[in-house]
């Protein structure tokens, strides 16, 4: 089965098509290394995404009719990027009448470093001086998530790590962004390199395949991005209330 994977939740974004034999086509762009607010916005991926998918189909010499399932990264990450990815994936699955599978961006990060003997903490920049994270432990053939998807300040995460014995591998652009805070924890903490800073669609395809084979699909209508912050509403509400009393 050929699966189309879409990952647009972070400043590095990718599309991949693959089967159990491996990836047959992939496209990746990163705005992470570029300066300027326009490169930090997920909105820019709207322009890139559909042409990139068509590029991959053409490169692999196949058409949409060959796609048997759609996999999408649900975040956490950039809200706009997540929405563009999830909306695109939903419409593709709907128009193609194929199943859809959603995976967390943090799971993809941890999956790619699963051969580490250490427990893994996937950390993505959550902006507003916060990080998104979850802890994993390697398990036969994959990884096992040990904690809930969490959003908190890097200092809070560092305190949490310090309070527990043992070693940990931190991966993701959040770990790199707050490197100084995590390095203070000493040699029990190892920080993954830039090469593992972002989730990739290739890992998404690999992880989605077994789910598609055991028919562990997501509901098309129910699938939505993992925002992790419910407070956006509340923050806005408070702002409106303030402006009203002003």
């Amino acid at each position: 089965m050929l699966v189309l994977g879409i990952e647009t939740a972070t400043p590095q974004t990718s599309v991949a098509i693959g089967s159990e034999q491996g990836v047959v086509a992939s496209a990746l762009v990163s705005r992470a290394a570029l300066d300027g607010p326009q490169h930090k916005s997920g909105a820019i991926y709207n322009e890139w995404l559909m042409p990139a998918i068509r590029f991959c189909l053409e490169g692999a010499g196949i058409g949409f009719r060959n796609i048997g399932g759609v996999a999408v990264s649900l975040g956490p990450g950039l809200y706009t990027g997540m929405r563009v990815g999830v909306a695109t994936a939903k419409a593709l699955a709907q128009a193609l009448s194929v199943p859809i599978v959603g995976m967390a961006s943090l799971d993809l990060l941890a999956y790619e470093v699963r051969y580490s003997p250490r427990p893994i903490c996937a950390v993505l920049d959550g902006r507003r001086k916060e990080v998104f994270h979850a802890f994993y432990r390697p398990s036969p053939g994959g990884i096992q998530r040990m904690t809930e998807y969490t959003v908190e300040r890097a200092e809070q995460l560092a305190n949490g790590i310090a309070s527990k014995p043992g070693e940990v591998l931190l991966v993701g652009n959040g770990a790199l962004l707050y490197r100084e805070i995590f390095e203070e924890l000493g040699s029990s903490v190892e920080i993954g390199t830039m090469g593992h800073a972002f989730p990739r669609a290739a890992a998404l395809v690999e992880l989605a395949l077994p789910r598609l084979y055991r028919e562990d699909f997501d509901s098309l209508d129910g699938l939505k991005p993992l925002y992790l912050r419910h407070s956006a509403k509340r923050i806005q509400w408070e702002r409106i209330r303030e402006s009203r009393s002003a």
């Binding site: 058409g63 419409a91 991005p225």
Partner: protein, 373 residues
Amino acid sequence: MDKDDWSFGESWRVEPSDPTWTGTQTAIKEQRVEEWDDETLVLGIETSCDETSASVVRGGRDILSNVIASQTELHGEYGGIVPEVAARAHVEALTPAIREALVRADATFWDLDAVAVTLGPGLIGSLLVGVAEAKAIASVLDIPFVGVNHLEAHIYSNFLGNYSAKWPAVVLVISGGHTMLVHARGHGDYEILGGTLDDAAGEAFDKVARFLGLDYPGGPEIDRLSLLGNPDAVRFPRSMVGEPGFDVSYSGLKTSVTNYVRRLEYEGNEINVADVAASFQQAVVDIEVAKTLAAVDHTMVDTLFLCGGVAANSGLRTGLEKACLDRSITLHVPPIELCTDNAAMVASCGTALLRRGIYTSLDAAPDPNLPLK
């Protein structure tokens, strides 16, 4: 093409000249080049603000389905539209809305000839959801994707199911987001005569309603209360009426309403909310009717199109109906479900664009400030 020509009598083609149609898809595309006639089926998608809508329109004029999922209740608790809340809701509501639109139209994806979507103006987070889905569907089906200007789509709401609507016309687009007068000479031939210098009319309604402690959305509440109040109770200013030009301004009117209410409160007098609402609404109606009639005189057309959410306002409808009757101007007002944001008007506008050979590349971005050209 004749400006007035909606007959689809002659055949018309869309050539695959767009660079995104190259490569392995080209062969399929060439086979798909076909005649566009009054059987053309277009899926419309609208997510520019707080309504998630999908619609199937045949031949640009016949609505086969027009599904609208309103978020009004969702935003009600905040007393106004929260962009992040709207964007999140579109992601959840659009897929079922598209499915429902196809079911009601008794059509499948493969019956569609094109997909039209609002590219702007609107809330960027909301626009992105509709544009992403429209691109994906058009790409899978290998049919043209057409990005539509939301304001132009509002103009086309007058043509839906209404075969007597004819160019040229003056169009009053009046809603929570826009207030503008357009001289529409024909398909794609528009001149903006004027617009609001500050708040859109619907925005002014909502703000005054909020100040008066009325429920959200405030426009319909003021309209309802106006029927109970005296429109001549308070003489609020009609700013810019009688001045040259077709621009309007609502900040002065809003301020005088709040000043009036505060003064009564300060003096310890009771406030008749219905009278205030009726007098405010009358001021808005007087301003809009005066400017619209001036625009009709200026352009020397005999047709007026009213569209946008505030077109549902009974005071405005009555005011314009009376004025148009007096001057033998033909007034077209779409039914309420086509006045508010909907995808049928997007599909209709998209069909008209396709007929002129205009469609959009798959790398197009939505534009929150897309101007009407």
